[in-house]
């Protein structure tokens, strides 16, 4: 689904964040990407989304090198992603309206795209109907994050990239949204990559976990965590062991 092949990347005046970095995401995987602040997690997602391009090497999605954001990839970032002047409903429909503007050109929208703007189904699914007419500044952080999810899911992505989507939320809201994401992952047949700096979140959501360290990242440290996403995983010894392992891995970097 998504492949980093010998990727080297650095910002214009910086040291390389990734150096000959290899990473493969299979279709239907649920990945968590974990690492300390500044290690390049957001950069990794921007590369995967086609918003940044490697200095060397290639990022491929479904075997094709990325040259621009791809219509079937959805990206959700922490805060700041919603238009402050648009209501929840308008924000949720933004991706569709962007597509309607260009038509089914295969670049900004898939070739088989049928113009539409109705997002009621998604607002309902994410419990946003009551606040559909509110502006982002008038709703809670959790509702804002759900709006961002609705906006992305309305585009029917097959690859969903999330950058610390829940880090500014309180624990119950965060855990609720984590389960929601796992639910959506299962029934929308998504491939999921979730970036986080929280060990517990990585262990709850990532069936596979990529641990990044201080740059430059060369060797991907990958951990299997098959129990993730199951309802009572948090209470199991496997979960505890994974968390412990991740904690040590992070301390080493």
């Amino acid at each position: 689904m998504l492949e980093f092949r010998q990727v080297t990347f650095q910002y214009r005046h910086g040291a390389p964040l990734f150096l000959n970095f290899n990473w493969r995401v299979e279709k239907g995987d649920a990945w968590a990407v974990l690492g300390p602040s500044g290690c390049g997690k957001s950069t990794l997602l921007a590369l995967a989304a086609g918003l940044l391009f490697p200095t060397q090497g290639q990022v491929l999605v479904e075997g094709q090198p990325l040259t621009r954001p791809r219509p079937h990839t959805g990206l959700i970032i922490q805060d700041y992603g919603l238009l402050p002047w648009a209501t929840v409903r308008e924000n949720a429909a933004l991706g569709l309206r962007v597509r309607n503007l260009y038509g089914a050109d295969g670049i900004h929208a898939p070739k088989d795209y049928v113009p539409r703007t109705d997002v009621t189904h998604w607002l309902e699914r994410l419990g946003l109907l009551e606040v559909a007419g509110h502006f982002p500044a008038q709703i809670s952080g959790g509702q804002r994050q759900r709006t961002a999810i609705a906006r992305t899911l309305a585009l029917e992505p097959d690859l969903l990239l999330m950058d610390e989507p829940f880090s500014s939320l309180d624990a119950p809201t965060r855990e609720g949204l984590q389960s929601l994401v796992m639910e959506l992952w299962a029934d929308q047949h998504l491939t999921l990559v979730l970036v986080t700096h929280a060990i517990e979140e990585a262990a709850m959501v990532g069936k596979r976990i990529l641990v990044l360290g201080n740059p430059p990242n060369t060797q991907a440290l990958v951990l299997d965590n098959p129990g993730a996403g199951e309802a009572h995983y948090r209470a199991t010894p496997e979960y505890q062991a994974i968390c412990q392992f991740l904690r040590e891995a992070l301390n080493r970097t």
Partner: protein, 246 residues
Amino acid sequence: MKRRDFLLALLALLALWQVLAWLVNQPILPDPWRVFGALIQETLSGDLPIHFLASLWRVVASTLLSILLAAPAGLVLGQSQRLNRLFTPIIYLLYPIPKVVFVPVLLLFFGIGDLSKILVIFLILFFQILVLVRDQAAALRPELILSVRSLGAGRRALFRFVYLPASLPGILTALRQSIGTAVAVLYVAELFATRVGLGYYIYFQGSTLLNYPAMYAGILAMSFLGLGLYFLVDGLERRLCRWQVR
């Protein structure tokens, strides 16, 4: 503000005017009824509409011109730190200068036609819009742009869904704040070297023809011009910038 309060205020002002007219009891302050009579008469059979339209055209033309030039410039400055650093000192120096002092200069350079008057108002509005749009554009987070781009937005969609709505509040606030000044400066500009426009009309009726009711009718027309534009902008701001007002 309720419509009823608005009407009451209007009535109170008219009553005050009436009382003053009685007290002064001289032709230089006619009462409201005579002025409204003159206004209707000058509108129906005089050439007040021509002067009104000439002034309106100058304000509208300069407003459109300043929006068209200042809004894109403000967006560019707000998004590019390098350009902004370059231009900030220049704007800082030019912004507070009272633009009305340029009236004689503009008359010398651009003659007695519409252009010199349009340029005076343009100078006022341009800087106001530029500064406010720039600040709004600077407040646009790069993350927001990235996330809209990730939805498939290219330049056209970014303009339509991000830059255009982001610059609207700046434009409308600037217009609301400075449309009054613009009309005042227009009046001054129209005192010089022109034969059409409300400024000329008011001056001519008052000091040459000594037709005071007509002079006041001209003043009313100019007030309507300013008020009408203000209400228009205010209404647009309420409608289009609901997300900010609350």
